[in-house]
Amino acid sequence: MTLAAAAKNEDRPSTPDRPSAIEIDALGKVYQSSGSLITALRSVTLGVRRGEFVSLLGPSGCGKTTLLRIVANLEAPTSGRVRLSGRGLDGLGFVFQRDVLLNWRNIIDNVLLPIEFKGKKRKAYRDRARELLVTFGLEGFEDKRPWELSGGMRQRAAICRALIDDPELLLMDEPFGALDALTRDELNVELQDLWQRSNKTAMFVTHSITEAVFLSDRVAVISDKPGRIVELMEVDFPRPRSLDIREEAKFAAYSRHLRDVLERHGAFRKR
């Protein structure tokens, strides 16, 4: 399916009782580290509705990445379970913190990698790969090697790779964490536009309050040791959102609230 077709097919109900895409049920994860047990996650329960954008916000090392990795089946939980609707794990695209582009492939071949992994015909996806690269401003870079691109462009290519097989779920683990502020803003807008047009369910890990509020329908705040959801906040801004909304009083209020929650759970050092 092309992006344009995806946009046309879009019928995102505005009611909150949409069918759920991800159901996380009493999830727990305990690590053993040099003899002692560390509880990374404790009874995390969260339902993500189809087409929803949910951010997991929390301090470094709070287990938000672990949660995302368990949803993607990259790690096994110690207790509880995750249910994915639709194509399940096959309908999942993952964007990593580091872009993990392969140096021995040019950009378009990197984008087509999931197609080869799934044993599908590359030819049928070449046009879609080109279209994705154009959408993310990478026109003309198809034949370049990853090291010839800037950090922001590399992460754009990594997002294209995650989207090539038209996943239902897009899981992102601090994808913009290593980028400069301006590139980050730009990518936030691009990601929002793409998500809105393509009717995907998104789970986004970040430690940036601004990013979480700007992008999300709901923000789940995860506390440190043990990691659990201490707050689930709806963000009520019309879409598409422009970067200007960050100056609005409502945006500041959302941010303030999230900061309060994080502070209450000891995310910031006492002065």
Binding site: L92, V100, W104
Partner: protein, 269 residues
């Protein structure tokens, strides 16, 4: 690097070699070194030019044994490495045996190969494989194991088979290591086939050296050594070329010009 100067370009390696030959000839001439100790360059070149078919045939014999040994070592070496990386059992057993075997002076095994395989090509090829395969196995194991956790996650998130994981991620990622092993193995294959010829043979540059030494034909010894040096150098550059062809993406190959060059002033300048 674009050529700004339109002068005639000579690779600096060739200039260095010519310089060495000139030095050799100069030392022999100035100190009147006797031919049966160290012949002059001209004498050695004359020796080769006067027996072209003989030297060509002997060089081809040694070269083909070397290439056969190299090919076998690469195929089996990479195969063994993959088996070792994928099997805990083989890792614990075979890898340990290989490491132990590698510490046996392999030259000491050459007489055994003659007993088992005769005095023909087979024993030379076996010797070449024996000496060179370890470099490939050890480097290939290292390369195949160096898949980063990020790449493993990427592979798992794409839900491909183990087969895809091997051919699309693990093997290409290991290629720089494997090629490093191949470069070493190429030289060692040549060493192996010469050692084989030293023990028992009727052909090859190693055999020429040994039989000429028996009759104090120093010219012939030097001629064979010169041809061996040229063969070894050609093989080395062939590997460099292969490296540039196979891993142009590797850090070591980026922005690399074909060969360092010395620009000679153009005649018109």
């Amino acid at each position: 690097m674009a050529a700004r100067n339109k002068g005639f370009r000579v690779p600096s390696e060739i200039l260095t070699l010519i310089g060495l030959l000139v030095l050799w000839q100069a030392v022999v001439s100035i100190f009147h070194v006797r031919d049966y100790l160290v012949p002059g360059v001209n004498v050695v070149v004359d020796e080769i030019v006067n027996h072209p078919q003989f030297y060509f045939a002997e060089t081809i014999y040694t070269l083909s044994n070397t290439l056969a040994a190299f090919a076998i070592a690469v195929i089996f070496g990479v195969g063994l490495a993959a088996a070792i990386v994928y099997s805990r059992f083989l890792d614990k057993t075979l890898y340990a045996v290989l490491i132990a075997l590698n510490n046996v002076p392999k030259v000491a095994l050459a007489p055994l190969f003659v007993i088992w395989l005769g005095t023909g090509s087979a024993s030379k090829i076996a010797m070449g494989v024996m000496i060179s395969i370890f470099a490939i196995v050890i480097d290939a194991v290292l390369g195949l194991r160096s898949l980063t956790p990020d790449m493993i996650d990427l592979g798992r998130s794409m839900r491909g088979s183990g087969f895809k994981m091997l051919f699309k991620l693990r093997l290409p990622n290991a290629l720089p290591s494997i090629i490093a092993g191949m470069k070493v193995a190429m030289s060692l294959s040549l060493v192996g086939s010469i050692v084989g010829e030293f023990v028992a043979a009727q052909n090859g540059l190693g055999f020429v050296i040994l039989s000429a030494q028996g009759v104090f034909d120093t010219n012939r010894v030097f001629a064979a050594i010169l041809l061996l040096a040229l063969t070894g150098t050609a093989l080395f550059y062939a590997m460099e070329y292969l490296e540039r062809l196979l891993i142009p993406w590797h850090e070591s190959q980026r922005n690399r010009s074909a060969t360092p060059v010395v620009v000679m002033p153009s005649p018109s300048a």
